[in-house]
Every structure is written in C-alpha cells, then in structure tokens.
Symmetry: D2
Subunit: 460 residues, 4 copies
C-alpha cells in the first residue's frame, strides 16, 4: 500500500524554491515516482518537474532558476493516471485568468463522470489524472475571480483532496470538507508555509501554526492569511492509515503525533492479544512504534531482531526471481542470535496480500524462533481505498476472503492477532467517529462512482 502524494508550498520567500526542495525531500515517503516545483514571481510562473526522487530531479541550477517568490511543490506516486511525465505535478495550465499550478493529494471519486461531461462540452484532456478535471472546472468563465471559480469547481467534485494552488498572485491551500488528507500551516521568517506533514515544517525550521481545517480554503500572500469555509459542513473522515502506516512518526497529523498514536495502537494490541513470549520484535521501520507500545504494555522485552537494508532502491533488480525468499531477506534479515530458541511476538502494521508476511515468518522460523506470534497494529484490510491510497483489488486482499485464524495458518505463525476496529478507534486520538476506516469496514464516506477514467492512450 502506497500513499499518493505530498504537498509543500511557500507563500513568498527569497529562498522559496530551496525551502520547497527541502520540504519535498522530507515528504519523499509520500511519493517516489515524480517530483515538481513551481514558483511565481513578477507575474510569471516557472516550473521544473520530472520522474524520480526529489534529490535526482532537482539540480542546484534548477533551484536557482526557480528562485524566490511563492512556490508549490509535489511528490507523487500514481494511483490514477499512469506513471509518466505528463502526469507529474504541479499541473500547470494557462486559462482565461492567466496561469495556475495545481498540486493535488487525494483522489476524486466522480472524475470519470465529470470528464465525460466536460468532453461533451468540447474539453480536451492531455493527461490521465483526475486532477485535470479540477482545472477544467476552474477554467469555466462563469465566475468573476479565482475564488468563486474555485469554490464552484470544488462543489462539483467528490472525493478526497488536499490542494495547493499557485497563481501569479497567491498560494491557496484547500482541504476537502471531510478532511481525508492532512495539510498543515506553518510560518517561516514571516511567510506562511503549507505542508502535508509537519516533519516538513521541522526540516525547514518553520513553526507549526495549525491545520487547514476540513472544508477550509486559505489564501496566502507572504504573511497574510485569508480563510473561507464555503462548503456545507460534513462529517469528518480523516484517513486513519496516515496514523497506521503512511505518515512519518515524527509528524503531527490531524493534530497528534504519529509515533505516539502508533504506540497507543501497540498497547491496545497487547491488551487485545496478550501472549506469553520472550521477546517483542518489530518489522522495521513501520512496525517500530507499535512494537514498542506492545512491549511496554505487555512487559515482554523489546528486541531488535530484524535488520533492514536501506540501500534498496527503485532500480534494484532481483536476479534470482525464482527464489523469492531472497527478496524478502534482501529487505529485512533476521538475526539468528536473537531468535534462536526464543518465543517471539512480531509486530507489523498490516497484512495486504500475505506473501511477504509468510516469507518473513519462514525466515524467522529458520533463524531459530520456537514460537512466532504475529501481531498487526491495525484491523484486517478487507476493502479497497478510493481516496488516494494504492490498494490491491478486493480479491487480492487476503483478509477479504480469509479469517484471521486462516491467515495465521497461511503465513505459518503460531498465532495471529489484529487490532480490533473498536480498539483502534478507542486508542486513536479523539476517540469516536472522525476517521475514514472504509478499508476495514467497506463503509465509504462518499458515493463511489464506479466509472474509471479509461486510459485511452499509452506512453511508451
């Protein structure tokens, strides 16, 4: 499961491009496929984007040319639209009111229908991204200014969106009325800054101010912030997977520190699924916080028994594809001297297809563990996400067809325990009904338009 995107913006600073570069770098975990930065100065927008990691896309010369002013940056892993340069963001167009650059985190669920409608009116589409729909709606000349056009445009779309928009005059931040995706506001040397996660504010040295609220649009120019809330309020639906897996543990998301939420999930998991064991071991790095919580709550010693190889990159090719166990060990290798003769609790954040978990259990068994108790710091994933997370189809999700007991047997664990939905919600901040948990329950916060944007062409 992969997050779609990360956003960063600066409302006016002499180091705008460089700050945005650093901000995107700290949001790299939210999208590794493409990166882009647009800046606005003297009525002119400049842009640089390409496929690849932030540090590979931008050379110093690019940052110098992008320069000072206002900026918006984006990192992307594609959930809709194919993996190609024309789909990289920010998405920059010229229309009747000038130019606008759009960076979008999330996924529209009625993009296909809107697209058909727009094409029927003569629109041409040059990308396969749902984000292009927003820009077409925005370009309709019915309204007198960007603000009214934007409000009208967003009233027509349904789904999840955190947006950072850049016009020659201002930086605009938006969260959809349900607040699926995070977007925070900070200040840096007198300028406002937008970031998907606060770890990006930390990196540039910005101070956290507050989150953009669900349904809020903020218009930022240097140190001025103007806020409107034009939409009918809706029940909040924050993506709980930001807590479980996506966000960095040092980020504050939806108002709370991610590491601490994960530890609370781990403690709750220990209460729900206690076991007599010698060690608690995390699947690094995503299981670290929950494993520590489990260890603290259970009193079982925390150990580091799985070593992750951090050199593995997108270009790594497995030369022994028939020996897939090798690939699992390439990423994470068990320490025999830790596991030998021990009963272990292994804490991971999720089981998607189960292949990896099964190989992991096998490797730990071969390293000498006498009992392996898998503990998952989230409920079973039974449904696909339509709001911007790259999930497999339902039938590929093992929990949609098998019970936890069956899954435990399938992966070869001596026991398997998932965090319960209720336990998760109770141990999450502000217990109650404010999260999107559709991937665990199938109860989607919006209608899901089953039409998909057909990819009618293909870039080779």
């Amino acid at each position: 499961m992969r997050e779609a995107c990360g956003l960063f913006g600066v409302s006016g600073h002499k180091k705008a491009a460089k700050l945005t570069y650093l901000g995107l770098f700290s949001l790299q975990h939210r999208g590794q496929e493409s990166a882009g930065i647009a800046t606005a100065r003297d009525g002119r927008i400049r842009i640089k984007k390409n496929m690849g990691l932030v540090q590979n896309v931008f050379q110093p010369a690019h940052l110098n040319r992008l320069g000072a002013g206002m900026s918006v940056g984006h990192v992307r892993y594609s959930t809709t639209g194919s993996s190609e340069l024309s789909n990289a963001q920010p998405f920059l167009v010229r229309y009747s009111r000038g130019t606008i650059a759009v960076a979008h985190n999330g996924n529209l669920v009625n993009a296909a229908a809107l697209r058909d409608k727009l094409e029927g009116l003569g629109a041409i589409f040059q990308t396969t991204m749902d984000s292009e729909v927003i820009v077409h709606l925005l370009a309709k000349p019915t309204y007198p200014d960007v603000e009214h056009s934007l409000v009208n445009s967003l009233e027509q779309v349904e789904g999840s969106y955190a947006l950072a928009l850049l016009t020659p005059d201002e930086l605009i931040g938006v969260r959809d009325p349900r607040g699926f995706k995070p977007l925070s506001i900070g200040t840096y040397e007198g300028a406002y800054v937008l970031a998907s996660e606060t770890c990006a504010l930390d990196l540039v040295g910005a101070d956290y101010v507050r989150d953009v609220e669900p349904g809020e649009i903020v218009f930022l120019r240097d140190g001025d912030l103007r806020s409107i809330k034009p939409f009918e309020p809706k029940a909040p639906a924050h993506c709980i997977f930001e807590y479980i897996y996506f966000a960095r543990p040092d980020s504050r998301v939806f108002g709370h520190n991610v590491h601490n939420v994960r530890k609370a999930f781990g403690r709750q998991l220990a209460r729900e699924h206690p076991i007599d064991a010698d060690l608690v071991v995390a699947v690094p790095d995503s299981g670290n916080s929950a494993a520590l919580g489990y260890a603290e709550e259970s009193g079982i010693p925390f150990e580091m028994g799985l070593v992750r190889n951090h050199y593995i990159g997108r270009t790594f090719i497995d030369p022994l594809s028939a020996q897939r166990d090798a690939m699992v060990r390439i990423k994470i290798n068990p320490i025999r001297e830790v596991f030998e003769g021990k009963r272990v609790v292994v804490v991971d954040d999720s089981i998607v297809r189960s292949t990896t978990s099964r190989q992991r259990v096998k490797a730990i068994r071969e390293a000498g563990a006498t009992e392996i108790h898998m503990r998952i710091s989230a409920p079973p994933i039974t449904h696909s996400c339509y709001y911007g997370i790259d999930t497999p189809t339902r039938k590929e999700l093992i929990a949609s067809t098998k019970t936890p007991e069956e899954i435990g047997r399938h992966i070869g664990a001596d026991s398997l325990g998932y965090l319960s939905v209720d336990g998760m919600l109770e141990s999450a901040p502000h217990p109650g009904d404010r999260y999107c948990i559709a991937c665990f329950t199938g109860k989607y916060a919006t209608q899901i338009d089953n039409g998909v944007v057909k990819e009618c062409f293909e870039c080779t």
Copy 2:
C-alpha cells in the same frame, strides 16, 4: 534560418513504427529538437516522444512497443512554443470523440486571437504551441464526426499548415489552401504513406503517388484513400525556401526535384552576375547544387575548396568563444592549395545576419584567394517569415537595412551578387505567381495577426 518540422505517416502496416522511424530519420534536417511517433492499433493509441534526434529518442524496445498499425511521426524545431518536452509532437489528447494525435508543420498566424477566444470559453492550454489551438477547435462538439469538425476547425485558422492526424481509425493528411508546406503521398506494400519530402519515401522504399493538394484533406486507411476539398480555393503560396535551402536535394518538392531547381537558380545567378574568375566553389552543403549550376553556365571550373566537418553536433561547445573565427573554421575549413593565387566565385544560398559570411570571406582570403566574388542563389532576405521558418527579426536581417553593395563591402568580398526575385521566379518550376516570397518582398499571402501567444510560464 531553420525549418520547423517534418511529418511522416503510415496508413496501416505491420512495420508501421519502424517505417516511421526511418521516415523521420530521413527528415531529420527539418527538425532536430524533438521527435515523436504515435501508432494506432485495436482502438488504442500509443506514443513515444522526447527531446533529441530521432536515433536518440527511439530505442528498439520503443519501436517494438509502438508496433504495427497506423502511425504518425514528427520531428520538430520550435518556432512557436519553447524548447521543451511538453511541446514535442505528435500532440495527443482525449476529447469527446476519443483520442487524436496531431502532427503539424507550419505556423498559424491567428493563433493568439483564437487562443484568447477559446480561453474565454473555458479552455485550458497546457503547451505554448499554436498547434494546440487546432485541437481545441476540433474538440468542439458541434459537429457529428471528425471530418466535419476538422473542416470547421481549419476554416477558423489562418496560416500555414501541413497536418498528419491519427485517430484510432484512420490517418488524415491535410495541406492548407495555399499549400505553403509540402506533403506527399506514397504507397508501400499496399498501404498509403505520407511524408513531408519524398526522400523519406525513397528511404522506406515507398513509391511516390502524388502530393496532397493545397486545400485537400485525405483520409487514409490501409490502401483506401478518400479525398475532400472543402475549402474555398486560394492562390497558391508554396514556400520557395524549400527549394532554396530547406528540402534535401534528393527530394521532389511541389512536384520538382530540389537539386535541379537549385542548379537552375545557380545558372540564372551566373547569367545575372557574371564575373571573370578561376574557380567556382560552393559553401557546402547547401550551396553545392547552385554552385554546380553557376559553374556549368559560366564555364568556370567547379572546385571543392571548402571542407565541412560533419561531426559537429548540438552538444558542441566552443571553448574559445572570444575567437569566433575558430567556430567558422570548425564547420568549414578552406583548402589553401585550392585558393592560393586564385580568383574565386563562392556560391552560398543566403546571407542572414552576415557574420558568418564575413568570417568565411576572411578565411578564404587568408587561404590565399586574390579575388572573392560572393554569389547568393536567392534574393536578399528583407522580411521575417510568419509561416513556420525561424527567421531573425527584421532589424537583424542585414538586407533589410543595407544594399547589396554595402553588404558586399561589409563582408569583405570583392563583389556580391544576389539572384533577383524575377530571376528566381523565372527559373523556378512553373514560372509565375505560385510561390510565397514574402521574406524577399514583405508581401504576405495572409493577414498577420500581430498578437503573439504570450509564454506565461517557463519550464526550467
């Protein structure tokens, strides 16, 4: 002065992509900035384009993925729009009737006005190319099919255009009513082929059939050709610079072989500007044919005294920028043993800014020539081109401010003779009034919309 573009298309063949690659390769002289090929098969369009030469853009894997079917290819040197990937062609969009790929050679003179109008109706523009306007017009849902939309769209644009369009169902070739740009039809193993110049037909082994006529639209599917001529006829205005410089000497353009036309210009030049000399030398390669014609007509021996270095590429950097004479010699070096003690006629195709000619004359003088008589196989260029040739502004054109005598003195020649406009037209095929000679006379065949598409953003 550089040509903007070259087109090639195949109406259905199992080697469509490979044939198009070869066709584009032989049209490389028409555009070295970007190259692209789109193919259509099974209702799906595939595309690959990038900055660079044909042989660098396409790897065998690309051609295999593009594969069989119908195809359209394009090489480009930008005259409008900046030098960036988003401006590479074919230009591929999805609209209400599906997908369409457009390859355009030429330049619209009312693009800015049309663009403003379209934006006023809500259109968004993602490139800075005038070609994007044609696609927006085409996408208007007023008409029932591609044919009617295309006709209506082209009725609104003014300027020069040879077009090759690819839908999932057919390949379409168009020449504007004045026939500014060439476009030929050939057949290859039962399929129709389109090419900007016949040298591309030769290369793939296709047989020349005829030219697309001015104002004609041809619809091609495999071996079927359907032709319409929906536009009001206009006076022909073939770009005479195709004969003077752009087209390859082995091509048949506007119905006649380019090498032979150039020789006829050279012969006429000899009649208009005879001189007593020992040798006739061409500035290679563009002056070769005219020099041979001059030599034949004058009876002065033809010699090869200037050696061109063919290794010079776009990546060449002059490390001694202060010594610009070096750059002229890098391209073309005079042979001392040919020039020493000789009175020479040097034949070139044009003088644009005069800097190069001046350095050339100096180098030949240093090689020992006692008299240097420059002969130019075209009239003085006094006006900019708005139909797709990259010309400097008027004030940079030396002939717009200086007489031939002044230019001759300026470049250091003992005499300078230009071909006269009347001589050019008389020695061209079908003497008379069928050519666009606006760059020599300032009499443009169309109104020129002075508005320019403002580049409101910039890709770094």
Copy 3:
C-alpha cells in the same frame, strides 16, 4: 568514518554472477563508491565494474554476460587512491601466469616503500591503489606457481588485508596474519563462498562454515577447500570498529554476532556511566543496539525519539548550505512529543569531529528535552587508522585535543560518557588482547610507514 571495502566470492556455480551481485548488495554498507564483479569460466575472466551503487552498476544484461563459473566481487569506498574508475576493484591484470583478478579489503602500511622499490626495478603503476603493489609482487617470475608467488608476495607487505583472488582456475581467500579484517567461508549448493560478513551468506542462502583464519590462505574450487598457513603466526589484531560501527548487526564477525556485542557494550556503558533519566534514545541506526543494552542494564525505558530519513543519497545537495542545522535534521529529526519535558540518555556509537553531535544535541534541546546525557558506546577516538578505515587526521579528531568533559560542554550535553577501553575489551567476546584498538590508544600493531603514495596525477 567509513569502511573501505567488502568482498564476496563464489568458487563455482551456475549462478555465480547473480549470487555475487546479491552478496555485494548486502555488503553495500562497506563501500558505496564503486562495485565490480569478475567471473572465470572456460579459462577466461570477464569483468564489469563502475562507479556507483551495486544496483546501479549492474544491469541484468551484465549479470547474464558475466554468467556462471567462479566469481569475485568488490564494493569500495576509497581510503587510498582517488575516487575514480581506474581504482575500482576487482583489479584485473594479465601477467606471466595468465590473468588474475584481485579484490582487497584493508590497507597496506608499507605500500609507498614497496612501490618505490618496484618502480626502481622498472614497474609501471596505472592506479593509485595500494592493492596494485600486491599484484606487482605476485607477478615476479621467481616462483613456479601462484601459491608460492602469493606467499612470497604477502611476506613482503605489511598492514591489513583480506583478499579474494580469482584466477581462471580457482578462487583464493586470504586474511593477513593479524586478522584485521573479517572474511568468512560458507557453502551454497555444493560450492564454497567467501564473504566479508555473514549477512551476505544469509542473503544468498549459504550456510556459514567458519572464518578464514588469520594468516590462512584457502584455495577453493567448487566444493574443494585446500588450506595453507604459510606465515609466521602473529598476535591477533581484529578491528574492533567492525563491532562498534561498520559491520551490520545481523552479521557474525570474528565469530560473534555484532548486535549482541553492541548490546554488551551498551550494558557496560550503563554500568560505567549511570544517570537518572526518563528515557534512553538511540541515534539511529548505528546506536540502536547499544542503546537497547543501556536501557536493559539501567532499567530506563527505551524510546524511539529520533527519526531517520532513509531517502538521503549521495546525490543529495543541501540547498541551504549556510543553515547546516537543516542538514542534521534532514538525516535525523527529533520527535517533540517524545522529548518534551524529559531527561534523556542519547546513545551514539562515536564522536569524530563533534560537529554533528553538537547540532544533534541542539535539536533535541529544541524539541524540549530538559536534560541530555550523551553516552558513546566506544572510547574516545584519538588516533587515525592506517588499516583501511577512512579517519580524519589526528588534529580533526576532537578527542585527540579535548577531554570528555570539554567535549561534553562543547556539544552542549548535560553529561557525556564514553565507554572505557578496559570496559570495551572486557565486554567484547573473548576478553583480552585480540583486537586492534589503535584508534583509541595509538598503539599500532605494525610499524607505520609514513611515506604516502603520492598521487602524481589526477583524473578529472
């Protein structure tokens, strides 16, 4: 401080190149500058090497061409010789007995003197590596076979060397008589395998057999191992920094698991430098194991308060070079919600120049820690290493000029405690006198030839 090299070899297997690729990949932490693989089959040696990471140097086509047979691979970070391709290893030459490929981990301390001597006899040197000296000595035609030449050659060199040599006929493994550098033997599907660390054996699925012993030479052909110990025995001098920092925690080095040794260091550190605190936090990842040991011994809870960004690569450029604090935060960001109001023990593996530690302490202080107690799981580094570790000069080593108290004040910690030399040796496996601890004491196991191989040329 960076390790110089990692070695991997296969004594004969149909997937030799692919196994070596995987082996090198798991040894990537030992050298990220260049990578190379040589294979021998049918009397012919093939090689591929280049600058870059393992996964970037080798494409599938390279591995296919390298193919089956015997192999030797190398990853390198340069300590002697500059960073250039000609210095990448394996180092392959032809000499009187045919061809030989040499992969070397370590550093010769008398290379400059040997080089001068060899040059005096007519040798030419094409690299700036000390390893080239070994090959020149080996090529002397005095001895009848590779074995005798190799023994004679190694009798002349002084310093640290683990070697993997490949001839068309066999794979040879060597450790110097003091055993500075590790080298392990494993078996995989009937073939012997050599690896600098056992994590590489784990990855390919090989079984650990034993270490090459100090002063031992092993000749490997498929499943045959012939061992000789031709050198006069010397006191062992295993590099203790392999335990402190270099080796992966999942490796068994010098016969013991690295993670467990580090934990023992951490426990001893807790005994030597106890403190009243709320949390123990590791500087990830190198401080993880020791911090866990410290926490266990002290009873203070282990926490994860520092988040490491694993995307940072060699191409990362700091755009705000004036703001160096940013760079420290780019690598490791403190979690405010963990540190706020807490007295913390921060465990790191070493302090070299102190710049990073100082910024780290500052960042943790800003995150709200009320007391910061730095604990270092090694003694103060006071001397340079001449045996293959990239250390700064003595005067750059802060501990060579400042006391721990002064360093503690300098970095802004409330207290600073180093592991004592005696405590380190007692808590290491096989307590006693078997380690090279020269970087802490200045007592080098060999004479140090102060002459340095002068780099008389430079590759641009």
Copy 4:
C-alpha cells in the same frame, strides 16, 4: 576500413586544454570511439578520457580543470585492444622517473612477443593495447633519463608509431623510422604544437612549420624544439591510404595537400579507364576529390547525384535489418532526376567486401541509370594492414579472391576500373618508392610477428 588514432599536443600555453579539444575535434574522423586529454602543469599531470566523441567526452568544467600548461590529446578507434575505457588514451602511468602520458597512432607488429618477454620478467598488463608495451620498455631503469630510455625502448619495437608523450616537463613527438603515420609541427602564439594532420593546426590558428621526420624525436618546451635522430635510417613507408581515404582533404599530409593528391589519382584513373558516359558522380564524401579529377581529365560533366545523410551516428539502429538496402539508402540516396536515362561514371575510393558497392549500384540502377561504370581511385585491396588500419581478414577482402572483372559483375556494374599500383605511385607526390602499399601488394615493410596479443579477459 577505419583509421586508428589522431594525436594533438601543445608544448605550453595558457589555453592548452581548449586548444587540444579543438585540435582533437578536427581529428575526429581519425577515431570516434574514445577521446582523452592530459595536461601537465606545476609538475602534475591531469587527465580526462572517456568513450565517445570529443564533444561528448569533454564538458567545459573538464577543460577548465585540465587548464593551462603542456598537453597531449588522443582520439581512438580500436584496432588492437577491445573497445573499452581502460584502452582509451592518453595512457598515463607512474614509473620510476615520475609520470608519463602516452598517445600512440599506429600499431606494433612485435607487441605479442615483447609482451611475453616482459611478462616473463614480472610485468603486469592492465590493458590489451600494444601501446602498453612501449611504456613498460620505457620504464626499465637501465638508462639515466627519459631520452635514453625512450630511444632504447623504441629500438626494441617494430611497426608503425607516431607518438606524443607528455612528462611533467616536456612534450615529446616521435615518428617511427619509416614514417608510416603522419605527425606535423606547428606554432601557436609562441608555443609548439603537434598534430596528426594540418587541418587541426588550421582550426586552432597555428602555423604549419614542418613534419616530424621519420625516425626523429622532438622535445618541445614552449618555444624550444630540440631534435634527435637516434635510429638507423630506413626506407620510407608512408601509409598511402592517408591520401586515398583517411586524411581530411584540407590537410597537408606527408608534405602535400590531400585533395590535390586525390584529384591526381582521379585524373590518372580517367586515363587508365576511360569510358563514354554522360556524367561523373562521386560517392560522397570520400570519392569527391577523385571524381572531380576524373571529370576534369575526361571532360565528362561532374554531377551531384548521391545525397549523403549526415545525421547518422553511432547510435543509429537499423530497425529493418532484413532489408539491408534500406541501410545503404539511409547513408546515401540517389537523385532519380539526375540518373534517369543517363550513362554514369561513379567514383569511389575503395571496395572492401563489395556488399555496399553492390547495393549502391542497384540503387543507382533503380534510379534510372542506363549504364553504371564504377571507377575506384585506388588499386584492389588484397592484403590486411598490420600498421594501424582496421582491415578485414584477407578472405573477407573481395579483391584477394576475385579479379576486377569478377568483382564488376558481382556488384552489377557495366564496367569496373581500379587505379593501377603503378599509376597510383606515379601520380602520387614524389613518385617512387616512398609509400607503404602493402595492402595492395602484400609486401610489408617489416617482418610481421604473427603472434597476436591474446585477449585473456573481457570487459562487459
């Protein structure tokens, strides 16, 4: 057939690297595989070399780092040694007298024997180039200085060599006693310059002084030239293929302009093989000068009927490999309007395997020629070259097994005439016995050591 190498050197100038870059650029036709420049300043040698064309290997930053001082540069197409970076030149080593960079044009015929002998004395070889042998001999410490070592070293080698050597103190130029390969001396702003051909002197603006004489060694420091002639004089054996094909027509080689020599060959060819025809056409560009000579002598009009595509580069891939006729047309396309109904003389410089000539004749026939009379401005090539030209093996040379009449029929020409050996020698400058014509006669100027340097390893 391809030339092996080109040399350029500057004896001391503040723009040494840049001048060498330009010099190499104008010698690019002598080797397109790799390029390198070494410079010496302040006792230190700097080098940059890589695979590729001159303009691709060197970026401005490289030239700046290489900087001022003395320099030597090299372009290479491999005749011995494989195509890999380690074989790129200049070849730079450290030996007892310091450092030396060697650039070699030519081929040693006793390299294998010398190599075996050197290996027997303990030498190691890191490349597969014969040039490495020279350096090993040079490094022998028997003689007191570079001069004596160099003389002694060259007394042992046999074959062809033009050398440019760079020590920290001086630039040294050498031609072998028979003078196989050209090497000229020029001056530029007070410094001496060496170049394989005078076109490189022209380009940088240097004045031609004289050739290095056969058997001469020149020691150059800025404006000082010291000459020695230590070798026993031998009969000259200048490579006549420099006149026939390799050298640029604007170069003065062996004291005479190449274009004029080629024209003389063409005139002689017309006298030896007259024919009644309508046109004389050259195979461009190598046949141009001889065709002009043929036309002048015969009185038959010179025409340009074959158009060469200059965009074809090393990366070009023929996508229709089954249709090889396409490849011939890709390079050179006949103009139908020139050939139609005409009897033509086609002048080319040589026939090697005959495949290309055959396809060329076919294409011209298809373009409408009624008679095709091939005329070759050199005698039939019947033997391989061992002195630095890349020739096929004897059995691949069509003229070694077929008579001219058979070859004429084979390629489909109506007649075929080769220049006779006697005619070639008589029309060459200084008629008589001063050329190496072994490829036409099999009479080699030296013994040919049949041993070949076995390539014992292979770089992937």
